[in-house]
Subunit: 257 residues, 2 copies
Amino acid sequence: MTLTVYHAEPGANSLKVLLALKEKGVEFESCYVALNKFEQHEDWFKAINPAGQVPVIVHDGRVINESTVINEYLDAVFEGAALRPADEYGRAMMRIWTKFVDEYFCPALSYLAWSWMIAGMVKDLSAEEFEAKLARIPLKEQQDKWRITAREGYPKERLDEWRRQVLTSIGRLETALAKGGPWLLGEQFTLADIACFSMAQPMPSGYADVMNQRDTPHLMAWHGRMMQREGVQAALAMPNRYRDEMLATQSKEPSHA
Amino acid sequence: MTLTVYHAEPGANSLKVLLALKEKGVEFESCYVALNKFEQHEDWFKAINPAGQVPVIVHDGRVINESTVINEYLDAVFEGAALRPADEYGRAMMRIWTKFVDEYFCPALSYLAWSWMIAGMVKDLSAEEFEAKLARIPLKEQQDKWRITAREGYPKERLDEWRRQVLTSIGRLETALAKGGPWLLGEQFTLADIACFSMAQPMPSGYADVMNQRDTPHLMAWHGRMMQREGVQAALAMPNRYRDEMLATQSKEPSHA
């Protein structure tokens, strides 16, 4: 039984799968895919996942993509702490959360993050090099997202709408956690916490105006509890070449701030 | 053990849940919510589902919304034919399909359908009456969708992009079914077939240019097999006041075609 996990740095959907693996204590072979080097669009990777997206797992020769699907699979197949409620109503409530992350919270955050991140990634590419990179992206909507974020940017009303959706998402989490806790479904730590945390993890710094002690005290307390978990710490300690290279670049360039 | 199902006519997400119920032979109390009368935004319904959307089930006093979550719940809890593979890899493959319907196929179809349907629904309302209807819609993104589709409409490039996504979705189904069948996952009829059919059911007439014998023969054959199933026929025979009222209106108005 072999398990290979193709993932990027421990953030967003890659973090989601790494959290489930580390929380359960599942052994796996880590294969880092550098998104800032566009490795997810290289032929060797598209042979594994034709959509050209991480994370992906290969378990005994069988490929599974989509982080939410992967996490239910990992929980069902591997030993370790159960990350889903034992009862079906609890599972339904868990899936309402994981679905909300996939369809609402994650897309809003993703469009906003890309709007500043991609421009930085492609700034040193010529128009020709950029088009060559684009041509290797298998999904048309991903191509569009790259082209728009890297060049003209999205119109202000769409960016405003995504910011509103992020604010709504944070409000939904705060309301749920204010009802009890310590976890989103109550006493049991589940894939719902993992999915929401995979998005909310960097927000107390990146979105301090919407996620902070004053406005979202219950969410901040939950974030603190998450950060104290061994599995969470192990997932966040996974290689992060994107951050390392950003830090290396910053330390080389003189600051004009 | 009581099960009440709040649903609209047998189309899209309401059809998805009705198909699972009828395929399994689950007894339930049907509660029809007339979308063209905006009943889903009335207070009595929002007391059940604050999001103001169908379908919703109430099982022994507990509310579950989101058709995809409902269908996994129904299959796990009720007797009748299993609509999910017994093995976890099969379940993962099934969830890739149900997720694709929720995140890609359904939204594209929905924006296109609303673009002509909502305008018809609200054409007899004054601006004041329309705003009063809008004010009762709990979700901001649903309010926006109503306002835009009912009044100015979406820009051509967004409509074109949704049309492209519908075409891509149909292509993905045809490719999968060309590999074998008779069902999307092979021998077993599953929630993947139910989810895809809930969207594709009216397309041989509504989208005959993209779903037809010449271009998508395997998909048409699958559609034919679906239509022969007793459970599918029973679901499609559920009340359809929207269609009935449309037909009644057409028979009263002189045709200028």
